[in-house]
């Protein structure tokens, strides 16, 4: 088994200890994260899952090198406030996984006060919580992010591949994410080549393809603010190592 349930770690254990923490969200990101491990045979020797509310039985949160976090902070939930404090104490680095944790995601659409938790009203993406600002190093877009993205991210983290990691670092300071980005940042600036990548990246079909003008069309009613479209667009930032075309 790649995860463990022990309370203490031996000194000679050099594995990267990762945990997955759940705030207000649908748990889809955690499922994608766990899905990734099916393919992640190469990294099982170097990574150890020390905490996951789905997979590990322990209730206390152990110390960990990297905490992957899904969901937004519900200010009215004392459990969340505790979890946040624990996160600040136990994790060396925090990665906001998915739209909810990174940009508010589907939580942006929540008006709160609903059963079964009528007292829950306020949902803040963890990238916006000042208390954690120094720890939240990366934000990963998606609803949920693809397991292959999480896998590549984890590999990049292990290899300290800064080229790969940089866009995710910069996304921590992005407080808005929606299909409007594609329109305002790419289409309206004259850079849309009509490749359709944004449309395939959208989990909710908020972006369709307008054949008449050869460009994406955005339906704001369907957007869950996950940030995938702009991140996938080849005409948006291109921080990944460029193949040298010679």
């Amino acid at each position: 088994m790649f995860y463990r349930d022990k309370l203490s770690f031996e000194e000679e254990d050099f594995k990267l200890k990762v945990g997955f923490l759940h705030f207000s969200s649908c748990s889809g990101c955690q499922v994608a994260f766990l899905d990734m491990f099916e393919e992640a045979v190469e990294i099982l020797d170097t990574v150890e899952l020390v905490y996951s509310n789905m997979l590990t039985k322990r209730r206390d949160i152990p110390r960990m090198d990297v905490a992957f976090v899904e969901g937004a902070l519900c200010v009215e939930d004392p459990h969340h406030i505790n979890l946040l404090r624990e996160l600040g104490k136990k994790a060396k680095m925090v990665v906001a996984v998915g739209g909810c944790a990174a940009f508010g995601g589907v939580r942006r659409l929540s008006c709160g006060n609903q059963l079964p938790q009528p007292q829950h009203q306020t949902f803040v993406p963890i990238t916006e919580v000042d208390f954690l600002k120094t720890k939240v190093k990366y934000a990963i877009p998606g609803c949920p992010p693809n397991p292959s993205l999480l896998y590549s991210f984890l590999l990049a983290l292990l290899e300290v591949n800064e080229d790969f990691l940089l866009p995710f670092e910069l996304m921590t300071s992005s407080t808005k994410a929606s299909g409007f980005d594609i329109i305002s940042e790419v289409v309206n600036k004259g850079f849309c080549v009509g490749c359709g990548t944004c449309s395939t990246a959208c989990p909710t079909r908020a972006i369709s393809f307008n054949r008449e003008c050869g460009k994406p069309a955005f339906n704001a009613n369907l957007c869950v603010h996950c940030g995938s479209c702009l991140a996938a667009c080849p005409q948006s930032f291109k921080p990944y190592p460029q193949p040298v075309y010679v």
Binding site: S152, T200, R211, C233, P243
Partner: protein, 297 residues
């Protein structure tokens, strides 16, 4: 510094061949054979008229876009890979489609496990894409005609349209430039560098120039010749033909560079923009004055 030499314009390649398809479109024949002999399990491209992206599953359904319009190809990626589980997909599209595909492959963003699902990337020499409305307006402007366009091809370093009324029309680049999609006016990779093979449509419908770039492209074609000998005939391309392609690219890229410079003068973001939020990205990949070659992607 940009030097508009062959290395920049066409890019590196292993070999260039004129391929004859015995009365049929050779590129279509190649894809047909690849599907038939299971080198690939699907082909992602656009419909013949280019109006919609298309996923081709059977060899007898192979048809490639013949006009310079081919939008939205990647919008079918998720369907092909995640829904239908294709694992040896070939893609035929213009260079910028591969930019999106490559980004998806590198990051794993957009579509799951794209990295391992793509077998072959075939780009076409792209004079810039037009929408149906733009085709109509361009034809009215150049020839005062309202007939449709059947196919585009290159001859002697010039762009031609074969029209539905059977006539061939030479398209002046300076006019064509203004009818293409905006982004095509800033494109520096019309030769589809970074793909496995670049196709250049020639005057005769059953001839095509194939610029074979990667080891993958090379071995795929070699394997195909062994599996189906004589179905398509390969002949080394003459220098004159390559020089004419190079001339076309030089002429178009000069127009594109002038437009990029104009944007700089107007204080508009150049491809790609330098929005504050993304200034850091911009610095990384768009150091225009450092090396175009690495940044065209």
């Amino acid at each position: 510094m940009v030097s508009l030499d062959r290395r920049f314009l066409i890019g590196n390649f292993r070999g260039a061949f004129v391929v004859e398809g015995k009365g049929k479109n050779p590129t279509e024949s190649i894809f047909r054979l690849m599907l038939k002999h299971q080198f690939i399990d699907g082909l992602l491209t656009c419909s013949k008229t280019g109006e919609s992206p298309k996923l081709i599953l059977k060899s007898d359904e192979v048809e490639l876009p013949s006009k310079n319009t081919c939008f939205g190809v990647n919008s079918l990626l998720k369907k092909a890979i995640q829904k239908y589980r294709f694992s040896r997909l070939a893609v035929y599209a213009p260079a910028c489609t591969f930019d999106g595909l490559n980004k998806t492959q590198y990051f794993g963003i957009g579509c799951n496990w794209t990295k391992t699902a793509i077998s072959l990337k075939v780009g076409f020499l792209c004079p810039g894409l037009l929408t149906e409305n733009a085709f109509n307006a361009e034809l009215a402007d150049i020839a005062g005609k309202s007939t449709g366009v059947k196919r585009f091809y290159f001859d002697g370093g010039n762009l031609f349209y074969l029209l539905e009324d059977g006539a061939s029309l030479k398209i002046p680049l300076s006019v064509h430039h203004h009818y293409t999609n905006s982004a095509c006016r800033y494109c520096l990779n019309m030769a589809a560098k970074g793909t496995d093979i670049t196709c250049v449509n020639l005057k005769e419908e059953d001839r095509v120039l194939l610029i074979v770039r990667s080891e993958r492209g090379w071995s795929t074609l070699a394997h195909l010749q062994k599996t189906a000998p004589g179905e398509v005939l390969f002949r080394k391309a003459e220098e004159e033909l390559l020089a004419s392609v190079e001339n076309f690219l030089r002429e178009k890229i000069l127009l594109n560079i002038a437009d990029i410079v104009e944007r700089v003068e107007l204080g508009l973001p150049v491809p790609k923009w330098n929005d504050n939020k993304l200034r850091k990205f911009y610095r990384i990949w768009n150091s225009v004055d450092i090396n175009f070659e690495e940044e065209v992607f």
